[in-house]
């Protein structure tokens, strides 16, 4: 009963959460993953069109290739910088640290590497934010942290995002980038996060509150097949890979050549699975507009 044991304190802890003053996190625009990953040069080659891009210009272009619109993967801090009104993000639920519930070989080491690589303690940060003047609960996944996969901590943070949103009657905005889907090192407990998060979404929904899900590259597996696809509005970045079984799995299972653009955001749009593809440069404004249109108290002029 190890699992239960460590959970006993959750309820009371949850209630204590808002008595302690939330910690303000400074947005750190310098921590852009693309810079960490690439070599030390001044120039970055676009992986799509091979255009050479001056790195310092990328920040102004939202980390989008100006030639072909390829959207570079960005980390949570860059995402915050692009989306959130400056200085408004308060991170929550930082007291949760991943355990190794199955004693899975190599998991602690992988976690340590991911922490080192990203500077994050887990694959998703969550908190309160203001977007174009509209307060909301916000969660952002980071693909560089174990492929944005959902373990117990990610699942719990997503769940609490909706729970706090309910408590405070706020909209929820979630950026998913869960390429690995579930985190297999946490076995069936990882699978169960799909249930837990979907249920939190539905409870929030039943209160008549808005949930805006933004599918970023890639959103696959258990992340897509739970909270990420359950938004009132599903926006996606251009070219984002979106699907349940990843393309390699589909190719192996079916031994068929995948159609062009298979599982791209454009493919998902055509097949009726998302509401809209939004260029990264417009994302803040579109999200802001949707949030604004769902504010209570907008009165008919008639």
């Amino acid at each position: 009963m190890q699992v239960n044991g460590c959970l006993e304190g959750v309820d009371s802890m949850f209630k204590d959460l808002f008595r302690t003053k939330p910690k303000y996190v400074t947005v750190r625009p310098q921590a852009v993953s693309i810079k960490q990953d690439s070599s030390a040069g001044l120039w970055e080659k676009c992986p799509n069109c091979e255009n050479l891009i001056y790195k310092k210009g990328l920040e102004q272009s939202f980390y989008v290739c100006e030639k072909c619109d390829f959207h570079f993967r960005i980390d949570v801090w860059e995402r915050l910088r692009q989306i959130v009104d400056e200085g408004t993000f308060e991170e929550l639920h930082t007291d949760l640290v991943s355990d190794n519930p199955l004693g899975f070989p190599g998991y602690p080491e992988k976690l340590a590497q991911a922490r080192e690589k990203t500077g994050l303690d887990e694959g998703l940060i969550a908190g309160r934010a203001v977007i174009q003047g509209n307060p909301c609960m916000l969660a952002i996944a980071d693909f560089d942290f174990m492929a944005g996969s959902m373990g117990s901590v990610v699942g719990e943070r997503v769940t609490r995002t909706f729970e706090v949103a309910m408590e405070q009657e706020l909209a929820a905005v979630v950026f998913s980038a869960g390429g690995g889907g579930a985190r297999m090192q946490e076995g069936v407990l990882s699978l169960m996060q799909m249930a837990k998060t979907s249920q939190a979404v539905e409870r929030h929904h039943q209160e008549g509150l808005l949930y805006l899900s933004v599918l970023t590259n890639p959103t696959l597996g258990g992340v897509y097949a739970s909270f990420a696809s359950l938004g009132d509005f599903l926006l996606a970045e251009p070219g984002a890979l979106i699907g349940f079984a990843g393309p390699r799995i589909v190719e192996e299972a079916t031994r068929q050549k995948l159609p062009n653009g298979f599982q791209s955001a454009e493919f998902a749009l055509e097949h009726g699975m998302i509401d809209k593809i939004v260029h990264r440069k417009d994302l803040r404004q579109v999200i802001g507009r949707i949030l604004h249109m769902h504010r209570k108290g907008l009165v008919p002029s008639a």
């Binding site: 190890q2 699992v3 239960n4 460590c6 959970l7 304190g9 959750v10 910690k23 930082t94 007291d95 949760l96 640290v97 355990d99 519930p101 199955l102 190599g106 303690d121 117990s152 901590v153 699942g155 719990e156 769940t159 579930a182 985190r183 297999m184 076995g187 069936v188 407990l189 990882s190 699978l191 169960m192 799909m194 249930a195 837990k196 979907s198 249920q199 979404v201 539905e202 409870r203 597996g221 258990g222 897509y224 097949a225 909270f227 696809s229 359950l230 699907g243 349940f244 079984a245 799995i249 589909v250 299972a253 079916t254 068929q256 995948l258 298979f262 599982q263 493919f267 097949h271 009726g272």
Partner: protein, 328 residues
């Protein structure tokens, strides 16, 4: 596996053959070998328990995949009466990989749903080897909503390697179908019993696995990923599936210890395929008990408890101070 027999069963099988020989000898030649036979049978009994009670995780996975293992429709036939199969999702297609319908369980009308593997090659092709498309999950959800309307209990018999990873399945929103099924099943105002009878493969199983009681057969497995795929991804070597099976903690005992299931349903010695009748009888008894325990619960409380169970699943450390300090 040869003749439906696993490698590890071979010593036992040989012993059983020997006993049979001696028995035949006794009958034919009118010789009294009862002492020898008794000794061997004692030995066989010991070996049987030794083998089947100490199966590795991987051996359990193989048992759960035994081609003669009872399928969903086998259980339906042996456990329920008057099964009336219902078809279609009302959007696109009837998916033969998931069956569902009305039945009575000891006089009580229920809705039964479950993925269906084929019992021969031809049926397997028709049923896509029991791998559902989105329309299968949509049919399941439709039948569950129908059950809810009439406050009819739902029984899900789960035996599925996973949701089908095909091009058309992706086109028609496999991920969306699973998410919506999980979401809406969670809030159904009717009692739900889920029984993992064979394979419980990831989201494809969870999509119909949100119950008030979740039972699991002794040799079934339930995991976030198949051992082969896990081994392939982690170690680029799917032949390491046995190690992955061990690491994933996917057996009924493991799941019980993690509170992911409520109860283990015993199988006939050697696995459900050795005796369908006995396996079904055990499932029936467990189902009777499960229903008896949830039917009296008011629906409001039932749903709250269902949600609460999943709300509690997950494990982490709490390091409020450490975490915030690390960030300073």
């Amino acid at each position: 596996m040869r003749n439906g027999l696993f490698e590890w069963e071979k010593p036992l099988y040989e012993l059983e053959l020997r006993i049979e020989e001696l028995q035949k000898f006794t009958a034919d030649k009118d010789m009294d070998l009862s002492r020898e036979i008794a000794t061997l049978e004692k030995k066989a009994e010991y070996l049987r328990r030794e083998i089947y009670q100490n199966l590795t995780a991987w051996q359990q996975v193989l048992l759960a995949r035994h081609p003669k293992r009872p399928t969903t429709l086998d259980y339906v036939e042996l456990i329920f009466d008057d099964f009336l199969e219902l078809h279609g999702d009302r959007y696109y297609r009837d998916d033969p990989a998931i069956v569902g319908g009305l039945a009575t369980f000891e006089g009580l009308p229920v809705t039964v749903i479950g993925p269906q593997k084929g019992r021969d090659t031809k049926e397997n092709i028709r049923r896509n080897f029991g791998l559902p498309h989105p329309e299968g999950y949509r049919k399941a959800l439709r039948l569950m909503k129908q059950a809810e309307k009439f406050q009819r209990p739902i029984v899900c018999l789960i035996d599925v390697v996973g949701a089908y990873p095909g091009i058309e399945a992706e086109e028609r929103g496999q991920g969306v179908a699973i998410a919506q099924s999980i979401r809406h099943m969670s809030f159904l105002r009717t009692p739900i019993v889920c029984i993992i009878t064979g394979e419980g493969g990831s989201g494809g199983a969870l999509a119909i696995g949100i119950g008030d009681r979740i039972l699991m057969l002794e040799h079934a497995w339930y995991s976030v990923i198949s051992p082969e795929m896990c081994a392939q991804i982690l170690w680029k070597d799917s032949s390491k599936a046995p190690e992955a099976a061990e690491a994933l903690k996917l057996t009924a005992k493991d799941l019980l210890s993690m509170n992911a299931i409520d109860e283990i349903v015993p199988e006939p010695l050697g696995g459900a395929h050795k005796n369908h009748q006995e396996a079904a009888a055990n499932v029936k008894a467990a189902l009777r008990q499960a229903l008896a325990s949830i039917l009296p619960i008011p629906l409001d409380i039932l749903v709250e408890e269902r949600l609460e169970r999943f709300r509690q699943l997950g494990q982490w450390q709490e390091k409020a101070v450490a975490a915030s300090e690390a960030r300073k």
